[in-house]
């Protein structure tokens, strides 16, 4: 059985749903952010699969890789800022659990 685009897409779907489960089920804000990294990587796997297998000239196909580079950049910026916010929240509130930060909950 040869490698085809569908394999990348199904792996991407699996990573995405696992990450989504983590975002919804974890209490700790740090672990929620780790799961968000899984979501971003699922997108990258899909993009790289498309870049390798879609029937397009190579100079168009490489856009998949370029977009993946941008996603990695944004996710690095996101994780740095988000961790700083988590540290700040922990210092102010004494907890980093997302379900205990319910001051604004109606």
């Amino acid at each position: 059985m040869d490698l085809e685009l569908l394999h990348f897409q199904i792996l991407s779907a699996a990573l995405f749903s696992i990450g989504l489960y983590g975002v919804l089920a974890r209490r700790s804000a740090v672990l929620v952010l780790v799961s968000i990294e899984l979501l971003l990587n699922a997108v990258n796997v899909n993009l790289i699969g498309q870049a390798a297998f879609v029937d397009r000239p190579p100079d168009e196909r490489v856009f998949g890789q370029v977009l993946a580079i941008f996603i990695i950049t944004i996710s690095a910026a996101e994780i740095g800022l988000a961790m700083a916010i988590v540290l700040r929240v922990f210092r102010n509130r004494g907890t980093a659990n997302a379900d205990e930060l319910d001051t604004m909950k109606w």
């Binding site: 040869d2 490698l3 085809e4 685009l5 394999h7 990348f8 897409q9 792996l11 779907a13 699996a14 990573l15 995405f16 749903s17 696992i18 990450g19 489960y21 983590g22 919804l24 089920a25 974890r26 209490r27 700790s28 740090v30 952010l33 780790v34 990294e37 899984l38 990587n41 990258n44 790289i48 870049a51 390798a52 297998f53 879609v54 029937d55 190579p58 100079d59 890789q65 370029v66 993946a68 580079i69 941008f70 990695i72 950049t73 996710s75 690095a76 910026a77 994780i79 740095g80 800022l81 961790m83 700083a84 540290l87 922990f90 102010n92 509130r93 004494g94 907890t95 980093a96 379900d99």
Partner: protein
Amino acid sequence: MSAIVFYVLAVITVIGALGVVLDRNVVRATLSLLIAMLGVAGIFLVAYAEFLALAQILIYAGAVTIVILFAIMLTRTTDLNINLDNPQRPVAFLIAVGVFVLLTLTFIYSDVPQLAEPDSVAVAIAESNSTGFETVGDSLFNQWAIPFEIASVILLVAMVGAIALARGDDNEPAVDASVEINEVSA
């Protein structure tokens, strides 16, 4: 051959990802992320994205995991092995399974025009006398030069913002976490 490598890497990636969301230990969950990221880097290699594989290992396996480990170390409370999961776990499980089924069906029934021969990416790269690095670099610095510069500004802003946020005020005394919890609950 590349299919077998892909399957092995996919299994490693999924096991790592499951470790991230299921493990009861925070540090072990983070180290599972490392395994998943290395698996994804291998999958990038299978799909002829050498530069992405290197960037993945450098940024995720190197930088992001270290940042997360530092955050865990700094936000640690006395009880490390408390319940890490929400009461909404069953709902989360149902949503995740639903999303997986939906995405898989969409992918199966979508008809993206695919290359007849999977290895023709490598052939095209060999014919154009350029490596994957050169193709990506050409595209990144010619066609996508302005988005690239904007991305670098975003990184700078995020770095300065993270320092400003995490540093805190100089005149603010360090708050004792346990006192703060009592104040909040009172």
